[in-house]
Amino acid sequence: MPQSQDGIEGNNGAELDAVIEVVGLSKRFGGNEVLRDIRFTARRGEVVCVIGPSGSGKSTLLRCVNLLETPTGGRVMFHGRDIQGAGFPLREYHARVGMVFQQFNLFNNMTVMRNCVEGQRKVLRRNRDDSEKVAMKYLAMVGMDGYRDAKPAQISGGQKQRVAIARALAMDPEVLLFDEPTSALDPETVGEVLSVMRNLASMGLTMIVVTHEMGFARDVASRVVFMEGGLIVEEDAPEVIFTNPKNARTREFLARVL
């Protein structure tokens, strides 16, 4: 993992090992309150799975963490520093907190290889050889190294998502955010993406995963966050959430989806 160059890591008495801390976060679109007083922490090496019915605010939460949406209240802290604070190195933050989207969002005008190289060259200022080496390493890891010259339109959804993961990894991120990474995939290709994600979790990458894959959450998550109506209803270890949830709403939801 890259070392910080200009002190992105404060440590203002924050919880030890906390990488991302969400403190009292709220988000409203007009009069519609999508997130209310969200609090949770992702510590180094943890896999936090966020589950809940559609429209519960899971994706918005993730997008607020990555500032694709601007929170209307509360704070998101990265190593104890407010990411919206003055002088916070936002571009470095984006490089170190990667995102994998539901719709893959591969750059359609670039080959698989260039998708993984562009950010390294433009943002991390790596040279071509180094970037290609790094890209090949991660493309091989997700089993897409044979497709380096293919355009996104020429590969399947599962393959696109694996390339998208390689693209995010090529930036050497500390944290990866997954926004329903398998929801747009055919049932047959869901497995190939999940197995890549399991592999990443076992390597100790910090991940926040919004998902409808309950099996994945149960097996891989360090903690599971259940959201409904813009609120965190319950947060606990997967064994607890899936076998003995404390909240009635969590039980109802799991009864419907399991």
Partner: protein, 261 residues
């Protein structure tokens, strides 16, 4: 000097022989004005559209915010004024305005390129804006999520896709410019229409001369449309690509063939 012809085709042949080089020079100037005007206009359009797409960052201070607002306002005025008035009027105002109030006697050809560029730029700005909107927002979100700046996102992700999408409209503008540069005869630019007028004047054979002129315009526009179609095809990339190695066999070579559209 040959005898005065009696038939239509006789006249066409006679005029071609007599004024062939005049027609060619006119066609060349028309093409020159249209090409440079379209290219400059395209660049203006890109810059205007990208500048107008700048969002005001929430953390920015008062000055940068005011600056971005003022820039946006000025660009909106530019687009409205130059789309909302005829090019023939713009030509008169700019050419004679510069002469009367700035004491600037513009070279006719330079004035022509300038006018066509500014005029086309206003249309292109709107075309590019449409092209940028046609690119899925997920593309720029992905670019931002790996830390690319607004300009980097535009330059390497959004604009290449937008330009591919707007190429047919850009081609349209080019064709329009070939034809509409004829209005520049009012400032005595020696383009095809201007040359034709002087060719027609001598023998007062307006029909025959402008018949020839029409055919030349048609040849120019037809050639340009075909060339642009070729360019579009080239931008779509090759129909085949090969994958080396598959998950089950590392020596496999699989050639994919893109579907015809």
């Amino acid at each position: 000097m040959s005898a005065i012809p009696a038939s239509f085709f006789g006249w066409v042949a006679f005029l071609l022989q007599k004024y062939g080089s005049l027609f060619l020079r006119g066609a060349w100037i028309t093409l020159l004005v249209a090409i440079s005007g379209t290219i400059c206009g395209f660049v203006i359009g890109l810059l205007v559209a990208v500048a107008r797409s700048l969002t005001v960052p929430a953390r920015a201070g008062f000055l940068p915010r005011a600056g971005i607002r003022a820039l946006r306002g000025a660009l909106a005025v530019y687009v409205e004024v130059f789309r909302g008035t005829p090019m023939i009027v713009q030509a008169m105002v700019i050419y004679y305005g510069a002469a009367q109030y700035l004491g600037l006697n513009m070279n006719e050809l330079a004035a022509a390129v300038l006018i066509v560029s500014i005029n086309t730029g206003a249309y292109m700005a709107e075309i590019v804006r449409g092209g940028v909107m046609s690119v899925d927002t997920g593309q720029s979100e992905a670019a931002r999520s790996i830390g690319m700046s607004h300009w980097q996102t535009m330059a390497s992700v959004v604009l290449p896709q937008a330009i591919r999408n707007i190429l047919p409209s850009v081609g349209n503008e080019f064709v329009v410019n070939i034809k509409d540069s004829s209005v520049l005869n009012v400032i005595a630019v020696s383009e095809l229409f201007f040359m034709s007028k002087s060719a027609a004047g001598t023998y007062l054979r307006y029909f025959e001369v402008f018949f020839i002129t029409g055919i030349i315009y048609l040849i120019l526009t037809f050639t340009v449309t075909r060339l642009l179609r070729l360019l579009e095809r080239k931008m779509d990339g090759p129909k085949h690509f090969t994958v080396f190695g598959s998950q089950s066999d590392s020596r496999a070579e699989i050639t994919y063939v893109k579907e015809e559209r």
